[in-house]
């Protein structure tokens, strides 16, 4: 069985950045395994712009952002295998994979980086009543049809969910000649970025129905229409508020779930809040030598932050493979008021560099005060103009701040 220092599962933005940083940290024996025919992951179908503003200070399209990393991987001569699906990762870091030239084969590694990304939540997860006709797609599937295959999924469209992919697809379908009749969002606020409401919906006069959901889908062979209704504060449809839209297509943009089947098989502990692995600040999971980064760990709003996180995992995996273990002094991080998750869940207060804690709030909070405390003592206090669930927040801890932490850390956000 062939052995590598580092095997990276997934050749999307997380896997690519992790590979580059591991190489630049001194590792040479690295392999990337990618399920699709080309590297780049989901960025290949995200043809809209707005990527890379944090990292490159310019607005790139998804394929352009991916290209920069693919070029870096190629120029370093890092090995990768496309069209290869990983079937299993074991606790002792053996990887079983399959492709059409080698069949089923096994590899082993000193360190593994999980970078499988996430999946879209489906209609099944929402229990929407009605028929099961053709014409119902997840927004990402529709995006693949239009942008990769050059096929339009339909002409008259209703979109459920105001996540960014749904908003982007509302504009994309409109540009390609479809009529987008409505975007429904069950929450009283959009889960997508405000700029996408403006440039994807408002620019094209597409109505956004907040506190609304689809209550019934009609159609025999093909979708013929949907009923939407307003919902109360408990998200129950309100009788008498139904509206009917004649349409042939329904898109679901109702959230993303980290894809962790392989992680579970490897015995990696998952967090119920993020649905991804529980990690230390160096992105090592509960299994020694298995690291995770990107959307498999928690769903990011911006690819720039995926790259940043993947670089941490790449360096850590590289150090691990070279036998440079960390002597940790670990505290856990927990959610205080109005916080839905904090990542990493475990913090090494002996860390020698800056540590960035990411977290999300669970409701819209104007003029919030963000507070990080340990044993009732304030470690970091900062104010913001606004905090919204759709946008990840962060706190940077310097080594000095880390040293001053005496016990478990609580992150809270108050109005």
């Amino acid at each position: 069985m062939k052995n590598y220092d580092i095997i990276i599962i997934g050749g999307g933005p997380a896997g690519l950045a992790a590979a580059i940083s591991a190489y630049d940290n001194g590792s040479r024996d690295i392999l990337i395994l990618e399920r699709e025919p080309v590297l780049g992951g989901i960025l290949n179908q995200c043809i809209h712009n707005g990527f890379g503003l944090t990292r490159f200070k310019e607005s790139l399209t998804g394929p352009e952002y991916a290209y920069r990393f693919v070029e870096e991987v190629r120029s370093r001569g890092i090995e990768y295998m496309c069209d290869t699906t990983v079937l299993e990762v074991s606790t002792d870091k053996q990887v079983t994979a399959i492709n059409s030239t080698k069949g089923v084969f096994s590899l082993s590694a000193k360190a593994i980086i999980l970078a499988m990304g996430c999946r879209e939540r489906s209609r099944g997860a929402l229990n929407i009543a009605g028929a099961r006709p053709a014409g119902i797609y997840s927004a990402g599937t529709a995006q693949k049809y239009v942008n990769i295959l050059g096929q339009m999924p339909g002409k008259r469209v209703v979109i459920l969910g105001s996540g960014d992919i749904g908003l982007i697809m509302a504009r994309r379908m409109t540009l390609e000649g479809a009529k987008v009749l409505a975007v429904c969002e069950i929450m009283p606020h959009s889960s997508g970025l405000k700029r996408n409401i403006v440039q994807c919906l408002d620019d094209y006069g597409i109505p956004l129905y907040l506190s609304h959901t689809i209550v019934k889908i009609e159609g025999k062979d093909r979708v013929s229409g949907v009923y939407i209704a307003q919902v109360d504060e408990k998200r129950r449809p309100i009788e008498g508020t139904e509206k009917y839209f004649e349409c042939d297509t329904v898109l679901f943009s109702v959230g993303l779930i980290p894809e962790n089947e392989l992680s579970k098989g490897a015995g990696v502990s998952l967090s119920p809040a993020t649905k991804g692995p529980i990690v230390y600040d160096d992105r090592e999971t509960s299994v020694s030598g298995i690291f995770a980064c990107g959307n498999v760990l928690h769903v990011h709003d911006l690819v720039d932050f995926v790259s940043e996180e993947a670089e941490i995992a790449g360096v850590s995996a590289s150090n691990y493979a070279m036998g440079k273990g960390a002597d940790r002094r670990v505290v856990s991080t927990t959610c205080g008021n109005n916080v839905s998750y904090v990542l990493p869940q475990m913090l090494d207060t002996n860390a020698s560099g800056m540590v960035k804690l990411y977290f999300r709030v669970n409701k819209v909070l104007p003029n919030p005060t963000i507070r990080l405390t340990s044993n009732g003592e304030d470690i970091v206090v900062k104010k913001k103009k606004i905090a919204v669930p759709g946008e990840m927040e962060s706190i940077v801890l310097t080594p000095a701040k880390l040293q001053s932490i005496s016990g478990d850390v609580v992150v809270s956000v108050e109005e």
Binding site: I47, T61, N147, V198
Partner: protein, 114 residues
């Protein structure tokens, strides 16, 4: 007449207030960068957007493309009509012009196809 805008330049989505007197901008506030200021100036009188789409590749497949600069918002569908009439032959590089001077912008490739 004042205008409240949401900047679309980056994910921060700054709320920008443009104060206008007698058809002239007298102040722009709320933006955190120069991109935001330029966006607000354009947005009040001639809103502009970068258009991204795909063109057909000769022999099958799609090539992602974009305008190399923002075009007038009311010209977006004109740009789309040109984009949808194009067929591009490989090889093509990232940044290569596949159609020039379309509503004041060039259509450039966003992907390398060998």
């Amino acid at each position: 007449m004042d205008r409240e805008l949401t900047c679309v330049e980056c994910p921060m989505g700054c709320a920008i207030l443009v104060t206008i007197r007698d058809g002239e901008i007298v102040s722009i506030g709320g933006n955190n960068c120069a991109r935001g200021k330029l966006y607000a100036q354009n947005e009040v009188f001639t809103p502009k957007r970068v258009v991204t789409s795909t063109v057909k590749l000769e022999g099958g497949g799609m090539l992602p493309v974009k305008t190399d600069r923002p075009v007038d918002k009311d010209k977006i569908f004109e740009v789309m009509a040109v984009i949808n009439s194009l067929i591009v032959a490989a090889p093509v590089k990232v940044g290569e012009v596949v159609a020039s001077d379309v509503c004041g912008a060039n259509i450039i490739s966003a992907k390398e196809v060998l």
